[in-house]
Symmetry: D2
Subunit: 360 residues, 4 copies
């Protein structure tokens, strides 16, 4: 079960960058859910490269649903989404020269030389497209239940976006944009910075911050299926993610308990906390406050500068200079992947708690 | 499968703080592994409270192995470890007053009032004792294969330990100590600080940093069973953990690719990377470099200062003043839980790659 | 996950015949279920040896619930049941002489000589006691939802019990008896026959037939979690079971479709089938008719007659003559194990369909 | 995880009879396995309808492998096989009239009217085509390891094939035939019988018997992953299977232990059993003898005779007369599905025991 995740809403992923098709099976959706293919395409569009800040590989990402939907509604049986690869360039590959900070070397060892090395093969970011397709279904289901998810680019080097303020409004702002920054000035600043970095043949990383609004109280399981365990399991499946934190996160190390404990209060006849340092989660279980997640996206390893590497055949030191189509930044495209993963992770826990009938 | 984790080396956890016994089943260990009960007890001792910096609840944590071991060796069938609760104080409980930043409130909603609220019930840190017992077996197996794990307290408020230098030596230092700080001066400073915080009726959090040395290249699976996914899934199962990062982690957001890409080189006929910003993991797969993991442990929510809470019966605002036995800090005791979780997580992936026969 | 089964209601099993204790963890039960310990003991009593037709090993089977129950109700967290072994006789064992048709030889190879060979170790029928304890909880839950399970001894050599007639009455008859035969004359005949077989130092097998009444329509999943797949997976976990069939079962091979198709009709405003050759299951899904399951229990391999075996040390042919405490028949004791397995299997599928909330 | 099976070699299945495509993902195959697409097609051809004894729906079953294979070898990442539906006839459907003994009624209730009812939708036997494609890979791997699988039609009403004699030769005979009967006279007799039954607008069931030769000793797990549990779990996933037995199976009820215990002996320096009533399995574990499995395939429910049913809209009794393309028998086509399921089930257990490296 290497490529399968989710106990109740289960996804199985396949595909390589230069193979015939990539895709995903979503298993566990109950019958009768209206599938919003327009929204699916919009979400896929957010993952597509655009402008100077992205690769020039342009895939249409026309997805097909080949099973599990009938007359626009889920049938209750597995839903298969497939996307053909059309724009792969066959080109010359040098699989003996692993690209630094990429999976090339480990894949070569792990798969004993049988890996499909073209364009990173199964490790390519392209494989996140089916995740977005599946995730868009999850996002749509949650939205229909009043649970909203949005992610903004919190930070890119020394440029920082403002914090979430009015959650619902800010989530809507995030979801309306291709480059999801809440503060428009910071948005421009970041884009300019990425263009600059790109023109330097370099790349840059960033931090994404996600908010999930209106999660019911009591979802998640103690220990192994805590919300944090579940979400991080999904998020770290995305190759570029190297850190995940909730609420105050690593900053907790700087405080005393009396400064950061979330005290309880009655608020409009509901129990809420005065602060939300726990990011909506206590003991692994949702407490009704907004769930706040941050993850870091490392700089795209593909840069055009000459770097050191080794020749796997000759076992000698050498250098590599990448050519082709690469992104100076991917966090803005990763944003919708993160939203998708969070939605799929939470949907699974919601069905665990309430049963599949709750989704309809 | 809420309380079960691990595909190949599977653990199933049970118990409550004030129940009769807590325990764990370890399933999947091949036959013929020598069980080092002395080491198991040593590891459990590292989790025990000691001195002024810990709770005064003193459990002997005498574990029993009631199945799966015969004549000192694993039989290949499920190994069950149980630990009786002996020192629980029945005392008066006020389950209607949830403690801030604890799981009391969410447990009450999730379990509809049927939760065992005494001492935090199933959410109690006490439940990590069986995890340490199971983890010590995993640590021992890995050590016998030349894979070493060690964790130090990297940071507590503004007191920072030095970085790992000579990994093997430093891991040994960590494992020889109850309060695992590499720099002895910083160790004293931190202990003094915790004592001070404790005498203020307060608590404090910290950051733990773990190193796994000699992981073979090619372990871990792309996407859902990436090493990062797997380890974070296990680590976030520990209630107090609110952030997990690998290698450079969140700091990646501050750099350009050219500054942080790990370039490859031949080193003693082996392929290594010049830097280790990826923390030993590319594309979710081990690359042979030390695996570097950091997690943050939030300040113990149990403090003696008066805090706001609500009365769940009357649904009115009120205050709570905890009495009893609490820790001003738990990260030093959590250290061995983290080691255990990391070992169990990696053992599972190693068996995935090499089969159970590899363990013997 | 060798010793773990069930996606929603998960059981994890451990223990050896002569170890300190055997037990089971039941994970996934929602909070608020009243645990009927009297019924649990009654069910365990049905598994105990009694009279001349059973082994003379007499275990009290006093079970303890050490977690997951508080004030008589489930807490929603893992429920652990343990039973101490008290009556094991240390005796002399000759692990080098595998008993014919037992697991001794395969265990020796599989576990490389590290198996706990005493009394069959983990393969002992004794390990079914915790299954009965867990199963009794499942049976009780189903009964409270109006779903009834009963099993009778359908056949023992050429002695056949009558068919189920009035299902509810017959299920009650089965459950009221230690030796569950519907026809009292046949019951006596079978007991006399077993006593005769036992006095011949021999053993005998039989067929058990189970009925599940009032299963709601639409439970079970197509393909891999069909009711037949699920139930057979559980039933074949019982060592002595060598065949499982549903409805007409193997007899289907003797008929034409027109003779055995279950035609549909309106019956009291409900849709039923005129016949029930499919045993309540179509396409793997319950159709509302009684679920009919038969399984065969092979003769206990432990007989007192001298048999051929090999000496695993010398690798020479030799003979073995068992002494000690053995059952001339076990199907009457296996009955309650089968009921338990069926209940656990179906409970898991019911939660899959309706969510855990349905159980309460 | 409804449509996912296998812990080590995992398959995820999707598709409907009249959807765009059906398919399967095979996850867990190590890198470097040569994929024999000719053999895959041969196996699919055995599942195709041929002659008067089968439906006249003729699908080419041209499969595509869209990922996981590169230059003819597995890459170690998920292998996706897809088959387009081309010959579906749109026709008029009457979903309100469920066909007797089909899944129509239960699907309608389970999926609340959202099921794809065309041609049985997801419940169609057509969905077994991807299973055969995946299974053919498993069969091929096992064959390369010297493990052979073959199935013959043991019985069709009162016509019985001879028993397996020389296992290897007989397996080869089975696998060389489209209609797998060992005795050529019986083969003709059965075919004539099926033609007769077909011309009577009726259908007929049968018993399939499978042999697995050269299974290593010690594979399978006690209890929940016994070979019997595992194989039956897979086999009962096939809609038409209503009974599964191993070795002597249900016939065990007719004998005493002394008559049917498999005594051990040294045979050519190997340990074997004098008889093989346990069908190669003790305590759920392989003992090195041929594994013998029988399953019953019920008569195809689709017959042309008028049958009683109910109108789901009006809730009135009515009749149904099927038209279209149906098989008077399907067991001969099911044969290769059974072989596939057995191979996939055993491959999963072999990897559990020996690790994925063993497969190469």
């Amino acid at each position: 079960m290497k490529s399968v995740i989710g106990k109740n809403i289960t996804i199985t992923l396949y595909g390589e960058s230069h193979g015939q098709a990539i895709g995903i099976i979503v298993d566990g959706l109950p019958a009768g859910i209206n599938i919003n293919t327009d929204f699916m395409q919009q979400q896929l569009d957010k993952r597509k490269p655009k402008g100077n800040i992205s690769t020039q590989r342009h895939e249409q990402d026309d997805f097909k649903i080949t099973s599990g939907v009938f007359n626009g509604y889920t049938t209750g049986t597995p839903l298969h989404i497939t996307i053909e690869n059309k724009s792969q360039k066959s080109g010359d590959y040098t699989p003996e020269l692993p690209r630094p900070s990429h999976a090339d070397y480990v894949a070569h060892i792990k798969y004993n030389g049988y890996e499909d090395y073209r364009g990173g093969g199964h490790f390519s970011g392209r494989i996140t497209a089916p995740i977005v397709a599946a995730g868009s279904i999850a996002i749509d289901i949650l939205r229909n239940k009043g649970i909203y998810i949005g992610t903004h680019i919190k930070k890119c080097q020394n440029i920082k976006d403002r914090d979430f303020k009015d959650y619902k409004t800010d989530i809507d702002i995030c979801n309306s944009k291709y480059f999801a920054v809440l503060d428009e000035n910071k948005e421009k600043e970041m884009i300019t910075h990425i263009e600059q970095v790109g023109s330097d043949s370099d790349s840059v990383g960033g931090i994404l911050e996600t908010c999930v609004l209106n999660m019911p109280v009591g979802v998640g399981e103690p220990y192994f299926y805590s919300i944090e365990s579940q979400i991080s399991h999904y998020l770290f499946s995305v190759g570029a993610v190297k850190g995940v934190e909730f609420g105050l996160g690593f900053d907790y190390a700087n405080y005393r308990g009396s400064e950061v404990n979330d005290q309880l209060e009655i608020n409009n006849k509901n129990i809420t906390t005065t602060t939300n340092n726990n990011g909506g989660i206590n003991g692994g279980i949702s407490n009704g406050m907004p769930i706040i997640i941050r993850c870091v996206i490392k700089p795209t390893p593909s840069i055009f500068k000459t770097q050191n590497t080794v020749n796997l055949k000759t076992m000698e030191n050498t250098t590599i200079s990448l050519v082709g189509r690469h992104d100076p930044a991917i966090f803005h495209r990763a944003r919708v992947v993160i939203d998708s993963m969070v939605a799929l992770a939470l949907l699974d826990l919601l069905v665990e708690k309430y049963g599949e009938g709750w989704l309809i």
